[in-house]
């Protein structure tokens, strides 16, 4: 039982990061119908910003996260402005290939700047909390709490602000949104910025727990795609629940079957969902 509880906590911490990455991905897909593979690179870049802030620049971890959010939001917006805006009206294959191109470009850039080495990020919160026989590091508690705060913030933004409502409107019907006077280009730009900010938060939160390296985004982006398909393309609650679900499935399968299988779980789930419920587990709707 202790093992189950321990693994549940481990799964929730991992799921928080999965959910944050998947959220940004689903948001962009919902609004622009772009399968943004380059999203993984934004996550990677967010982790590198924190690495640079904590090792070279100095300052607190909170400041590092804030800087990462701003820098990567700008990067996300720039990506929309430079690449995806120009592909408007072309088939989604163009956008997909462009997204892959951007992913490789950013990975290559990180490789040139920092090299292929695994970089450890100093852990600002390195204490361990033990309760009911369960061990959890302070950093993981922060990951879980911060992810919930970020998700609540996103919910507030989408439901209670004009910008958020325009994003939702555009996701529901792009032409309709244009007709009622929404500046779709501006909304697209903002969506990419928000998506970048979410990726940055995920990267910034996980950086002290893992190692930072140029291809770290490629590993998680495939999982994020599985989550987005699992939850329904473009669905925000689907991405959140899907993120936790996948992480828990991986951890539990690892615990009770074998950890060698845990990497397989994501893709087995993907196949099952595509066969039995191709629209995803949750109703679509941002």
């Amino acid at each position: 039982m202790t093992l189950f509880a321990q693994q549940f906590v481990n799964g929730i911490a991992l799921g928080s990061v999965y959910a944050l990455v998947a959220l940004g991905l689903t948001l962009v897909y919902g609004v622009l119908k772009v399968p943004n593979f380059a999203h993984g690179a934004l996550y990677m870049a967010g982790a590198y910003v924190v690495y640079v802030m904590l090792t070279a620049v100095g300052g607190s971890y909170a400041l590092a996260i804030a800087v990462a959010v701003v820098v990567i939001a700008v990067m996300g917006a720039a990506m929309e402005f430079v690449v995806f805006r120009r592909l408007e009206g072309k088939s989604s294959v163009h956008a997909m290939i462009a997204a892959l191109g951007v992913l490789f470009f950013l990975e290559g850039t990180a490789d040139v700047i920092w090299g292929p080495d695994f970089r450890p990020v100093p852990t600002p919160l390195d204490g361990v909390v033990t309760a009911f026989g369960i061990n959890i590091t302070e950093q993981r508690i922060l990951v879980i709490v911060a992810a919930i705060v970020a998700m609540a913030g996103l919910y507030f933004l989408l439901k209670r602000t004009l910008v958020g409502m325009s994003i939702e409107a555009m996701a529901q019907d792009r032409e309709g949104a244009l007709l009622v006077g929404i500046d779709t280009r501006r909304v697209a730009l903002i969506t990419f910025a928000i998506s970048g900010a979410l990726a940055a938060i995920a990267g910034a939160l996980i950086a002290p727990l893992v190692l930072v390296f140029p291809t770290m985004g490629a590993v998680i982006i495939l999982k994020a795609f599985v989550i987005v398909i699992l939850g329904g393309m473009g669905s925000v609650p689907g991405a959140i629940l899907g993120g936790y679900l996948l992480a828990l499935a991986e951890t539990m399968a690892g615990t009770y079957v074998a950890f060698a299988f845990s990497e397989l779980i994501a893709f087995a789930l993907l196949v099952l969902v595509l066969v039995f419920r191709p629209t995803g587990l949750f109703q679509k709707g941002v």
Partner: protein, 406 residues
Amino acid sequence: MRRIRRRSGSAGRLVLLASVVFLAGACGGEGGAGEDGLEVVPIGFAGPLSGGAAYYGRNVLRGLQMASDEIAESGGFMVDGRAHRFEIVTADDRYLPYETSTAARRLLQQNQPAVILVPHAGGIRALQEINLREPKFLLLAYSSEPSILEAQNPLMVMLPPRFDGYQEPFIDVLMPRFGNRLALLGTTTAYGRAWTESVTAEWTSRGGTVGRDHGVDYNTTTDFTGAVSRALADNPDVLFIGGPSQPTALVIRAAREQGFGGGFLIMDQAKFMEMLDIVSMEALEGAVGVYPQSLYPTEGTPGWVARYHERFGQDFQVPTSEVAINYQGLHLVARAMELAGTTTDPEAIRARIGEAARTMPDELRIFDMGGVTDAGHLTRAVFAAHVLNGEFIAVPIPVPASTQLR
């Protein structure tokens, strides 16, 4: 307008063609003398330079480059009364065995090297069929996988110690100190699996118990806590871990965070000095792994470490065995070429590698090498390190009895 355009187009092509011809001329250093008046001998490297294993590949390459630069700076090596230096030519195989043969063929076509180094077992096996056909080449094998020796390839030299020599002495240290329950948490690459099997067999043959395999792929796992929690639930005395150094250190950190107080049996892929970037010496207490290269108890090591830092800078990570073994390997080749009196005949070069190993000058001798076995293994004294009271204690590793020197 159209005609002018077309003309300028063909003029453009002409310029392009001219520059290609010029470049080809500039690159074709094959056999000719370089700017420094030394004859240039190409040495091939077919290994990972991009993708997940790029870090590893570049470490190997750094060892080769360091030896090659040293040789050139000291005036080259003498063959046939003329001074020679090496030029490392590379082809990326992204760690994929089927790409290794393509990479090697490309090197053979473009640069005709008599020696090609490959840093992984899959790629080495792929080339064992090719290196005996024309054009023949000497295959420098950087892999501690003993199965590469089974082919008895007459044109191969395996540079590192075989990994199956490690398990026995590692267990000799750990079992008496911590107890006889082992949990398996190694990486799930082909090499990791071979290690897991080997450790399991050796541990059970000593009457120890081994839990289920909780191994994960160290290169793709984002978070190790789940796997560590599961492995620790079996209450092990010793954890078998290992993959690349940095993820291995994360596993150690996770285990200590979850209250594990036992020992670590660490696969040879992970290096203590690299792990110390992430975990403290305190967390490593009770770990057994390969001896840190930069502290290796041989005469040539301190000088080599100093030269390494001179070349790559003080803060540029500690030199690992990946750098050291390949550095030593290239010096061996230079010496064997001198002894054989040829830079192009792989058979003659291979025949003198053993002699080159035994007669290596002290300042270039990082390892106490014995010679080369019939199957092509370079033998030498090997040490493991046991972390005891915050110190690395050297544990000598016996050379397998079946080893026949030539």
